[in-house]
């Protein structure tokens, strides 16, 4: 056969009479439309189609007049593995052949290898024609080749010429190599079957790749083999699943378009009309989505499509021409915004939503019976009563199968089992699973309806999960949920697909906690270590976005990441992590700085001594918040190390020893706060270690001795020492001259660690009581029981001090500034009345304090609200004044016009004349070579400034600053300010802008994050985009659809609005944000930055003046 030249082979195929050959592609509108003519011309007495033998009796259902395409045939074996899947639509040539045969009473034979044959399942869904295209032409897009060579030249063509072209394509693709072993077997079977029909004029409707095998002589391989029983089903199908992008096999692109081509029955003008209609409909859908796309755009699209088809030598525009034309005309080069909308509109119009139907008397589909059978096998009750099942999937294979089945039904939305979450200890997943199952009539009905998605539950679950993952509205959190469902439901094929898509769909937009979840899930799934490493790398990358965070959750995520890095990926990514951490130690909020330093120590990049010194230097910091924050961060990450290694606590101990009273007391609350990050048992351990250094006798506490006696003893000791050393003062290095002796140091440690308060000396006990009141018995391990704190009073002694007394105690012990700090902390921990002790007249205004005060506003009862308001009012007033002073220099002079060379149309005559005086020659003529104009001075309230604030997290400094900045900007005549807050709801607070206190009181914190919604709201309110400034204050952890948010940003940016994303708006400039998403926003054309209010004022002023 290889010696025959292709042209004569094609001739031979074309003229063969027995069998008469019609080579097809499984979905081909041209051939399907021409099929009745071809068959009528051939006058066959048998029609043979390329379907497995077992489907022979089902062909009458396919051709039944009551059957509406699209429908599909599926073949599964006894274990539920899919052996074959054959979708049919009106434009499938085989279906056209079957229908013709039925109308003309010609018998139909299914001649392909039975699916139950041992070799029958190989390469079944893989269309050999496509594979051959791929091999021979080196092109991925095999459908396009057939489209160009057969489909687009078919309009108005003679059916026989079409048949010849199809056969020629098959010959070309078969090429030199010939069929694979599996295909050769199938072809041999087909030859045998055609001969066995005994017909004199058989017609074979087969894939044109196989046509050459059906004529001429061939060696016959051994076809014997036991044929296993299979189950077949015909189910209704949908165009959405028929589209080849759905992930279901044997699909074709844009079924609705193919349907329309089939309906035009080969007339070029009908196809052109349909192309015009498609273009118009897509424009309509764009308008519905809020994009401008009118009749001129449709006209331009039409002319581009027609021009392209003329240039390419086609008689009518094909699918490709239409799509390219729509992309060029409507897309506006904008990948994120309009082009995505165009793609969606095209999909809706070209894929369509047609659904097939079977005649009422057709046999029912197999999904329901399959599930019933499976339930019976696995002993899951179906008797209509509720039953509880406790499963242990890790121990018993039967339980694992049951769990998989129930998870699959849950995923498919079948009302059968309800799962109860069993919480595990700590971070571990629970090992057991508890289900409540109840089989209802609804269950059977839903399963029936779901048969479209697959013949078995596994296929249905796979198909549904896949659809949901592909949906562009799905968020990262959803997708991780689908991944987990795929793990639980035991769907390895789907897991492989999800793993392949994980990169672009999840890793690209996830924040650090989600990346860690993904990492653990990938570990559970046990697939693809390379991807796991990439996820780890992305997590390391996301660390940079934690710079401004103070939340314990973020610090713990960082600690988890460090733990993983040590355990598993010591070489990969560790350098990068270290680099990030090194930067964080310099430039981040105190908790993050502490955490980063501790992390570096854990990764063995810095010696423990370094961390110890650093901790000691934090302790010396006069600003209590900073000290406390840094210590907390470090201890949350590396707390377990502290009692093990003296290098860590010795520097701090030395400082404690060296401080006189007046240095120690003000720092005590901050240190106590910092060490409170350790659990009670950890503090106990640390205390034991530390106190051991000072010897046992210190446990007795100090003796109460008269000071004069103490002085005399000390002098005597000193004289003795000098005498013993031979008159020299050697000066011991190891025990530095400390004003504090060992016993007092231990007391100080008792205070800092909150242990053994009953052993404290009297002067310290007051302090201990004051702080214990705040910190109680601690948290975490050991907080219930080890060593009661606060003495053994048990009824003796004073009752708990009232808050006022406590506040006075604090002022006496620690000084008034520290008292404020402690009171604020107490309020943060729930002692709400503490904050009322602050005197508005003397409080130091700080944004942190204001943040805390406002955070309490919601928790206060009405009666207590008034003093809080006074306090907050005072703070707001002071802070606004300070802010205004900083911002004013940037905002002055916005309304005056300045000279410029740009043509604004208003000539500044004086300056122009002066600039061109050198051209005056004869005294009267001046040549205006260089013109000077006046820039547009802003009229009052000419510019709109919109501030959009994300309030889904806690009351952030950025939120407070936004309100204050809005108040300051409100005072500038050139600007009119609007402030809107959003979480999942959008609240417009513009009327409160002038009074920042009431604005902040109105803000309600909490909820999810839907940035797209907030942007949409603001976009509707923008009057003149080129004179509008929009500042979005958010951490960009989008909780709804990321693509929608990006689209909104893009629309705003292209509309001419000046948009700025602010990851933080405070004077420290430490942002907390999702780096991946922020990167994508920046790519969309919106800059993302962390600015201080004066920098923001500078930016606004620059925009207004320009």
């Amino acid at each position: 056969m290889s010696e025959t030249d292709p042209a004569s082979l094609v001739d031979a195929l074309h003229s063969s009479k027995s069998p008469h050959l019609i080579g097809v592609r499984h979905h081909s509108p041209a051939l399907a439309a021409a099929m009745p003519d071809l068959l009528a011309a051939a006058e066959p007495d048998a029609v043979c189609v390329e379907l497995p033998q077992e489907l022979g009796e089902w062909t009458r259902w396919l051709a039944h007049p009551g059957t509406l395409a699209p429908v599909a045939c599926s073949v599964i074996d006894a274990t539920g593995e899919r052996l074959g899947f054959y979708p049919f639509a009106d434009f499938s040539p085989e279906l056209a052949a079957l229908r013709w045969a039925r109308e003309n009473d010609v018998p139909v034979y299914a001649i392909d290898l039975p699916s139950g044959h041992p070799r029958g399942s190989e390469f079944r869904e893989h269309d050999p024609l496509s594979a051959a295209f791929g091999r021979a032409a080196g092109v991925d897009d095999t459908e396009e080749l057939w489209d160009r060579l057969v489909e687009s030249r078919s309009y108005g063509a003679d059916p026989q010429a079409l048949r010849r072209a199809a056969l020629a394509v098959g010959v070309a693709m078969r090429g030199e190599a010939g069929p694979s072993e599996a295909d050769a077997l199938r072809e041999a079977w087909m030859r045998k079957e055609i001969a066995a029909t005994g017909a004199s004029r058989p017609v074979a409707v087969i894939g044109s790749f196989h046509a050459a095998a059906l004529i001429g002589d061939h060696t016959e391989p051994d076809l014997s083999g036991p044929v296993a029983p299979v189950t077949c089903a015909v189910v209704p199908y949908t165009f959405a699943l028929l589209d080849s992008r759905s992930g279901y096999p044997a699909g074709i692109r844009d079924p609705e378009w193919q349907q329309a081509v089939w309906e035009s029955k080969g007339e070029a003008t009908a196809v052109e009309r349909h192309a015009t209609r498609v273009i118009t409909e897509v424009c309509g859908k764009m308008r519905a989505a809020g994009h401008a796309a009118g009749t001129p755009d449709a006209l331009a699209g039409h002319s581009l499509a027609m021009g392209l088809s003329a240039l390419r030598g086609l008689t009518a525009p094909g699918r490709r021409e239409v799509i390219e034309a729509l992309g060029s005309v409507l897309g506006q080069g904008d990948q994120l915004g309009r082009a995505a909308a165009v793609a969606r509109a095209c999909e809706a119009v070209l894929v369509g939503d047609r659904r097939g139907e079977l005649p009422p008397d057709a046999p029912r589909a197999g999904l329901l019976s399959h599930v019933e059978q499976a339930c019976d096998e696995l002993k899951i009750p179906r008797d209509g009563r509720a039953k509880q099942l406790k499963l242990a999937p890790h121990r018993s294979p039967l339980d694992r199968k049951r769990h998989a089945l129930l998870t699959r039904t849950r995923v498919c939305g079948v009302p059968f089992g309800k799962r109860r979450e069993l919480a595990g200890i700590g971070d571990q997943d629970s090992l057991g699973r508890e289900w409540t199952v109840k089989w209802e009539p609804r269950t059977a009905a839903t399963l029936d309806w779901l048969s479209t998605y697959g013949p078995t539950l596994a296929h249905a679950a796979t198909g549904l999960l896949r659809q949901r993952w592909i949906d562009p509205e799905a968020t990262t959190a959803h997708r991780l949920g689908f991944f987990e469902a795929a793990v639980e439901a035991d769907l390895p094929g789907l897991l492989a697909e999800f793993t392949a898509r994980m990169r672009e769909d999840v890793v690209a937009t996830a924040g650090l906690p989600e990346l860690l979840t993904a990492y653990h899930l990938l570990g559970r799934a046990g697939t693809d270590p390379v991807l796991r490493a990439e996820v780890a790398a992305a997590a390391i990358n996301a660390v940079g976005g934690l710079a401004g965070s103070g939340e314990a959750a973020d610090i713990r995520a960082l600690a988890e990441l460090v733990r993983l890095s040590r355990a598993e990926h010591e070489h990969l990514g560790a350098e990068r992590l270290v680099w990030q951490l090194a930067r964080l130690t310099e430039d981040a909020s105190p908790p993050t700085r502490g955490a980063a330093a501790a992390a570096l120590t854990l990764l063995d990049r810095r010696p423990h001594q370094w961390l110890g010194e650093l901790a000691a230097s934090w302790a010396e910091d006069a600003d209590g918040e900073r000290a406390a924050g840094a210590l907390r961060g470090a201890l949350l990450v590396a707390g377990d190390l502290w009692d093990a290694d003296p290098d860590l606590w010795e520097p701090l101990a030395r400082r404690l020893e060296s401080w006189p009273e007046r240095d120690f007391w003000p720092r005590l609350p901050a240190l106590r706060e910092g060490f409170d990050a350790l659990s009670t048992a950890a503090r106990e351990r640390l205390f034991r270690t530390v106190s051991g250094r000072y010897g046992d006798d210190t446990a007795l506490g100090r003796l109460e001795v008269a000071p004069e006696l103490l002085a005399a003893w000390a002098a005597a000791d000193e004289a003795g020492r000098i005498a013993a050393a031979g008159g020299e003062d050697t000066g011991d290095d190891l025990a530095p001259e400390s004003p504090v002796d060992g016993a007092e140091t231990v007391d100080r440690w008792r205070l800092i660690l909150g242990r053994e308060s009953d052993r404290l000396s009297a002067s310290y006990r007051r302090g201990a009581l004051a702080l214990d009141d705040l910190y109680g018995s601690g948290h975490g391990e050991g907080s219930m029981g080890i060593g009661a704190v606060g003495g053994t009073s048990g009824g003796v002694g004073a009752a708990e001090p009232s808050i006022r007394e406590w506040a006075e105690d604090l002022a006496e012990l620690f000084g008034s500034r520290v008292r404020e700090e402690v009171l604020a902390r107490a309020a943060g921990r729930g002692r709400l009345d503490a904050i009322l002790q602050l005197d508005p007249g003397h409080v130091t205004p700080s944004v942190d304090l204001l943040t805390r005060v406002l955070g309490l506003a919601g928790a206060m009862p009405e009666s207590k609200l008034a003093p809080l308001r006074r306090l907050a009012a005072r703070l707001v007033e002071e802070l606004t004044k300070a802010l205004a002073t900083k911002m004013r220099p940037a905002l002055t002079g916005l309304t005056t016009a300045r000279p410029t060379r740009r043509h604004t149309g208003r000539l500044d005559l004086a300056r122009t004349v002066r600039a061109n005086l050198h051209t005056v020659q004869d005294g009267t003529t001046l040549v205006p070579e260089r013109l000077v104009f006046r820039s547009r001075g802003a009229r009052s309230a000419d510019w709109d400034v919109h501030i959009l604030v994300d309030v889904s997290g806690s009351m952030e400094r950025s939120t407070v600053y936004s309100a204050l900045v809005a108040a300051v900007l409100h005072g500038v005549p050139a600007l009119s300010v609007h402030l809107t807050t959003f979480s999942t709801d959008v609240v417009d607070l513009t009327e409160h802008v002038s009074d920042p206190l009431s604005l902040l009181m109105e803000v309600s914190i909490g909820g999810g994050t839907d940035i797209g919604k907030g942007l949409r709201y603001v976009r509707d309110r923008i009057k003149v985009p080129s004179r509008t400034i929009l500042a979005v204050v958010s951490d960009f952890e989008e909780g709804a659809s990321v693509s929608r948010m990006l689209e909104e940003f893009r629309q705003l940016a292209t509309g001419g609005t000046h948009v700025l994303g602010l990851a933080a708006l405070d004077d420290k400039g430490e942002p907390v944000y999702n780096k991946a998403i922020a990167g994508r926003i920046a790519d969309a054309g919106v800059p993302v930055a962390a600015l201080s209010p004066s920098q923001l004022a500078d930016w606004i002023a620059a925009k207004v003046r320009a």
Binding site: A292, P296, D297, A300, S303, L304, G307, L308, L311, R312, E324, A325, S328, V329, G331, Q332, G333, D334, Q335, R503, V507, V530, E534, A537, A538, N541, G544, L572, G573, E575, R576, W579, R901, R902, H903, T925, V927, P928, E929, S1026, A1053, T1054, G1055, G1056, D1083, G1085
Partner: protein, 373 residues
């Protein structure tokens, strides 16, 4: 006129090919065009040898059309069909993707001249799009036809030729909008002379825009709807890009009268590194962090040329050792984090390739210290 210009315009460099193609395809031409659309596509893509169907008095019987634009055929087809229609053509894409070259080739092929060009900058004024005045003559003789200094757009309108607007988004929005009425009415009013100049058949506009840059103003929606947008992607295929870099760097060096002598392996490594960093994915499929700078093909050509020049004039250099320094210079432009990203690339993809013993990656991995600077 200079003796030997540094860069010759396309219509001069390829004059022979254009003449041949005019004789080759005698099909119908859109009004005002010098070649048929199919011939324009052939000219732009090149890579074929053609024979004249019948002898022509001037043109040679066969000619090889050289490869010029490396990219998708469908893109060029769409561009050509757009030019024959009512809308303008706007080529967008990242810097260094040969948009300007494509617009030059298209205008040379369609109207025989690529000289009618307006370069868009922030200082571009309406005069560059409409007309200006010779102020001396204006003041001396009053507003006359003589005193009018037509812009390239007005010249193209009168002649029925293609006008190119480079970097249109750099112009200020109010200046860009001067094009809106030109593209819809195809008419320019000169009130001082009291006349209306209509455009001749064949007038069309090709604009280029660079979307990812600072100092770019957005186009108004009205202007966008007068253009068909075509995104020119970076070269999709490693081999084509290596080929292109070699060719263009070779051409640049031949102007110095030298041969291009950079080692093939080093050249491949250079292009591979550029592609990996541009796309965020290594050739083998590993993920790579993308730096904020655009790693364009033009930049790769520049680096290859520099390496060639360094080898030529300074002699005796180890090209592999040059590569990290050049890469750092290319990458580390704005964002200090980019150096970290390049280091990360070295630690992941380059290290893996070094482990697989691929030359020159092994040596490159050893030269990591050059990046830490």
């Amino acid at each position: 006129m200079t003796e030997r210009p540094q860069v010759m315009p396309a219509e001069q460099r390829y004059a022979a090919e254009l003449e041949f193609l005019a004789a080759y395809d005698s099909g119908p031409r859109p009004p005002g065009w010098k070649l048929t659309p199919a011939a324009v596509v052939t000219f732009v893509l090149g890579g074929q040898t053609l024979e004249l169907p019948e002898p022509h008095p001037v043109a040679p019987p066969t000619m090889e059309i050289s490869r010029k634009f490396v990219g998708e055929r469908a893109l060029v087809e769409r561009a050509v069909v757009t030019l024959a229609g009512d809308r303008g053509l706007l080529l967008v894409g990242e810097p260094g993707t040969a948009k300007s070259m494509l617009s030059e080739l298209l205008s040379a092929a369609v109207s025989g001249s690529s000289a009618l060009t307006v370069q868009g900058t922030a200082g571009t004024t309406e005069e560059h799009f409409r007309y200006g005045w010779n102020y001396g003559l204006l003041l001396a003789k009053g507003p006359t036809e003589e005193a009018l200094v037509p812009s390239p757009v007005l010249t193209a309108m009168r002649r029925g030729a293609v006008v190119r607007v480079e970097e249109i988004t750099r112009c200020l929005p109010e200046v860009q909008d001067a094009l809106v009425s030109l593209l819809s009415d195809r008419r320019m009013a000169v009130p001082e002379l009291g006349s209306n100049i209509s455009s001749a058949e064949g007038f069309t506009v090709i604009a280029t825009a660079n979307l990812r840059d600072r100092g770019v103003s957005e186009m108004s929606a009205a202007l966008k709807r007068r253009f068909n947008f075509e995104t020119v992607p970076p070269i999709g295929d490693l081999e084509s890009e290596v080929d292109l870099v070699r060719r263009q760097a070779g051409a640049a060096l031949s102007r110095h009268g030298r041969d291009f002598a950079v080692d093939e392996l080093v050249l491949r490594a250079l292009v591979t590194a550029f592609r990996d960093l541009r796309g965020g994915q290594a050739e083998e499929g590993w993920a790579v962090e993308r730096p904020a700078t655009v790693m364009s093909t033009a930049e790769a050509v520049g680096v290859a040329t520099s390496m060639g020049l360094q080898g030529t004039y300074l002699g005796g250099v180890d090209e592999t050792a040059l590569l990290p320094g050049y890469l750092l210079g290319t990458v580390h432009k704005d964002d200090p984090e980019d150096r970290g990203r390049l280091l990360a690339y070295w630690d992941t993809a380059v290290r893996r390739r070094a482990e697989a013993e691929a030359a020159p990656w092994k040596r490159l991995h050893e030269l990591r210290h050059l990046l830490e600077g």
